[in-house]
């Protein structure tokens, strides 16, 4: 399945729009990682465990969106957007949405 965050797909023609599809996950932090993060707040620098955690969660949200698109019979999702919100201390929601479409070669 083709995922793109542009409205047009080069070399392809959109033949049908199937509507909005979305996927989201809510992730909480690991207590151990939180202690490490507390230390990092003294020294500064990258929190690679968080980077990984968020990347994984975002991939999962993308996967859910693709599943939804597949069930609609789409073969591409265009105009994809990410959105992140921290809903409570220690938990954040990763949300991804886009338009499910059917494309074919021009």
């Amino acid at each position: 399945m083709l995922i793109s965050n542009m409205e047009v797909v080069p070399g392809k023609r959109i033949t049908q729009h199937l509507g909005l599809v979305q996927g989201s996950t809510v992730r909480a932090k690991h207590a151990g990682k939180d202690i490490m993060a507390g230390l990092k707040n003294i020294f500064g620098g990258e929190l690679s465990s968080y980077t990984e955690l968020l990347t994984e969660s975002r991939d999962e949200a993308l996967e859910r969106m693709q599943e939804q698109a597949r069930s609609l019979g789409a073969n591409a999702v265009v105009n994809v957007r990410f959105s992140t919100s921290s809903i409570a201390a220690g938990a954040s929601e990763l949300f991804v949405y886009g338009s499910a479409v059917i494309i074919e070669d021009r």
Binding site: L2, I3, S4, N5, M6, E7, V8, V9, P10, G11, K29, D34, A37, G38, K40, N41, I42, F43, G44, G45, E46, L47, S48, Y50, T51, L54, T55, R58, V80, R81, F82, S83, T84, S85, S86, A89, G90, S92
Partner: protein, 160 residues
């Protein structure tokens, strides 16, 4: 009295650790960012939504890069003091700048491994993570994403 001295000692200790490590960290990070930016300069990153003519038969794929970066204690204190009088908070500016450039670099790296020659429709998103430092900024996450344009056999020879 002893309690108070301990508190002051702890504060000064954390402040100097933050200053030393934070500064070293930032310098090292900027050096690494500059080196990788020079290396990836040939990979175009644009925020245009419409592909240029020469890329009309490229194939495309979404790429992204993200980084979670944390302030050091010294910066938290400096920014806290700054907020008393207002004005530019240079301590946080450099943090956000590093985060954005790092996220874009990671996205470019992913695009490069796909064999892309450009990334279009770049979007950047910044969010604050948790509340580790209490009142301070804590850490931020920067996400950069866009669509990588990968040259195909059809688009390779004549159009460029």
């Amino acid at each position: 009295m002893g309690e108070l001295l301990f508190q002051i000692g702890l504060f000064l200790g954390m402040l100097s650790l933050g200053y030393l490590f934070g500064r070293r960290n930032e310098r090292k990070h900027y050096r690494s960012i500059q080196a990788r930016e020079d290396e990836l300069r040939s990979l175009l990153v644009l925020s245009t939504k419409i592909p240029p003519r020469s890329m009309l038969s490229h194939s495309s794929e979404m790429v992204s890069g993200s980084v979670v970066i944390s302030v050091d204690y010294f910066k938290t204190v400096v920014a806290g003091l700054r907020s008393l009088v207002g004005g530019r908070v240079g301590a946080y500016e450099s943090l956000l700048d590093r985060g954005r450039r790092e996220a874009i670099l990671r996205m470019q790296q992913e695009a490069k491994t796909l064999g892309a020659d450009a990334v279009l429709n770049l979007k950047l998103e910044t969010s604050r993570i948790g509340d580790n430092a209490g009142k301070g900024l804590g850490s931020i996450e920067v996400l950069a994403y866009g669509t990588a344009m990968i040259p195909t056999r059809a688009s390779a020879p004549d159009n460029r």
